[in-house]
Symmetry: C2
Subunit: 351 residues, 2 copies
């Protein structure tokens, strides 16, 4: 059994079953979706029952462990074939967050290409690896929180985008984790949350999570951020990341780039909080990060309510790229990288 000891248990692991908060139903209803195999976990990721780069990584790891458990009475050949399908299925669920591929690589390593032990032992090893990965994410987020909180002054009015909280991770959160840590240090923090169209993660998830935590939160539409900055009502911007390129360019929820441009104009620090598992040293810069294009129906309305006319064309890129030059600092579990660049990011990884 693994779960977040905090208020919000996004993933609950029961060995033969993974329970996920159905984030599509929040904040109206707090419900769990139960998965017992990799196909169900991949579908939960694709359909955004679970979202947020670190949480997707954890869910995928548990998806591998579930499938291994299910196949543990097969021959090793059948087991390996089934696991290969599970890995592919999970890898195809969403394209942008690199934590997904990082977590799957870790699980592949735990499976061990060379080791040909019996499936039951392999399944047990994979379950341990998934739980370790989950616990490591939680500890990583706390470390990010400690590192980042030093840069959040008492009384800060923090603008955040999308949801980067316990709901987006194993627990605590990345950008929201920094806010939690700052609050836990006794600082008075208030948050302005952008609603984050089209999927409204800010309005639905961040607002809900901060209300649970009793951290003051004001909800705005995405297009109000510039106005508030111009009026001097924002002290810093703090967001997460779905993937960070080797040069420090950041892929994150659509709208992040706009907030970074606005922050620069208003001389407001723009911080990115993310685990090192979000850094993809294999991509040189943001131009090489694939941007997921999601369904038009997310833009033409919400939750069955359609407000755009029939026949309209739609663009729906789920992420955008913020160039490293606009990032004041990167908060990681290994500390803060101010004004990240290729050299500073390479230094985070042991040779």
């Amino acid at each position: 059994m693994a779960s977040n000891p905090g208020n919000v248990e996004t993933l609950r692991w029961h060995g033969q079953r993974l329970e996920l908060i159905d984030q599509r139903a929040l904040p109206a209803r707090l419900e769990y979706v139960s998965c017992t195999n990799a196909v169900e976990v991949a579908e939960a990721i694709r359909s955004m029952v679970v979202r947020g780069a670190p949480a997707i990584g954890c869910a995928a790891a548990f998806g591998v462990a579930l499938e291994a458990k299910r196949q543990e009475h097969c021959t090793r050949g059948q087991f390996d074939a089934a696991m290969e399908i599970a890995f592919r299925n999970l890898a195809a669920s969403r394209p942008t967050a690199v934590n997904l591929f990082w977590a799957l690589d870790r699980m592949r390593a735990a499976l061990g290409r060379e080791t040909r032990d019996d499936p039951k032992s392999a399944a047990a090893r994979l379950a341990r690896a998934a739980v370790e990965l989950f616990n490591a994410d939680l500890e990583t987020n706390r470390a990010i929180g400690r590192a980042g909180a030093a840069h959040v002054p008492d009384g800060a009015r923090v603008l955040t985008h999308c949801n980067t909280g316990a709901l987006a991770t194993a627990g605590h959160g990345t950008a929201l984790g920094v806010i939690r840590s700052a609050r836990d240090q006794g600082k008075r923090i208030s948050v302005v949350a952008t609603e984050t169209r089209p999927y409204l993660q800010g309005a639905r998830l961040t607002a809900w999570e901060l209300i649970q935590e009793k951290i003051p939160v004001t909800l705005i539409t995405d297009n109000m951020a510039g106005h508030l900055m111009r009026l001097g009502k924002i002290d810093l911007v703090l967001v997460g990341a779905d993937r960070i390129a080797a040069n420090g360019d950041v892929a994150n929820k659509i709208g992040t780039y706009t907030l970074a441009v606005l922050a620069e104009r208003h001389h407001i620090p723009f911080y990115v909080a993310a685990p090192l598992s979000s850094v993809d040293m294999a991509v040189a810069d943001g131009g090489s990060i694939p941007i997921e294009e999601r369904s038009a129906s997310e833009v033409t309305g919400y939750a069955g309510l359609r407000w755009a006319p029939e026949g309209v064309n739609v663009a729906n890129p789920a992420f955008d790229i913020t160039p490293a030059e606009l990032v004041s600092g990167l908060f990681t579990e290994k500390g803060v990288v101010t004004q990240p660049d290729t050299r500073k990011i390479r230094a985070l990884f042991p040779a």
Copy 2:
């Protein structure tokens, strides 16, 4: 009878009745709301049956004319008292768009403080004045369109915000009027329309109006504009105005300022199309323009569907201020003012 000869008849004047397209119901249903007195027109403005600075001005003028017609059998004393209430009621309907106050001033002038003729003559004069104001708005928009279209190159991909079309005016439109005029000159124009949260005028009204006109339109959420500019997919930004200060600062739909900041970063022209009736020489700069704060319920959901948690704080400024320094050009019925400033704007008005 006065109405727009184009596809979209936002206001239809029948002498004792004003019909307004109910813009709250678009694009699902094309329905008219009928008003027979000033109170009903003020309520139609307040509740956004009719919106868009020039259309609000026209509606208010017809509201005065309706009330005068209704009171034409009173004594002159009763008539004057009733008209005073009508003017105040209409002036209190919405605070930011200056065209409302401009139109009411024109109607006050037509009423004539000195003239003490019989109410029936006064009512007839007010009806003529309202129709003149309506026809002048239509002609003004065509002149803005001619002036602005010269700055819209063939093949241009134009980003626009909110709705500035026939639905926002007596007809033709301001920013959308420029697009109509450019298309009528044979230019191939495509439009990217921001949905314009919270009230979704872009998704509901601009998308609908451009589909009626067979002008290609792609709908995006507000937070996608920066991403598209960064990818080189936008050639110019073209918006309207609710009020322009004497120094060229522009009050317009919330989100406009952000688009102007993004346009500057990407070296994309940022144009504002507006009649001179939107210029308020009585306010020196944008800091003195009152910004309407609308209901929290517009931000926590849409049309009865609520997605934000109970208890969340909300900010809902309906407009923001774009400083003149970010405006590449102002398209008016008296021609184009490039890089507007106090001197150039003063020159538009005869001493």
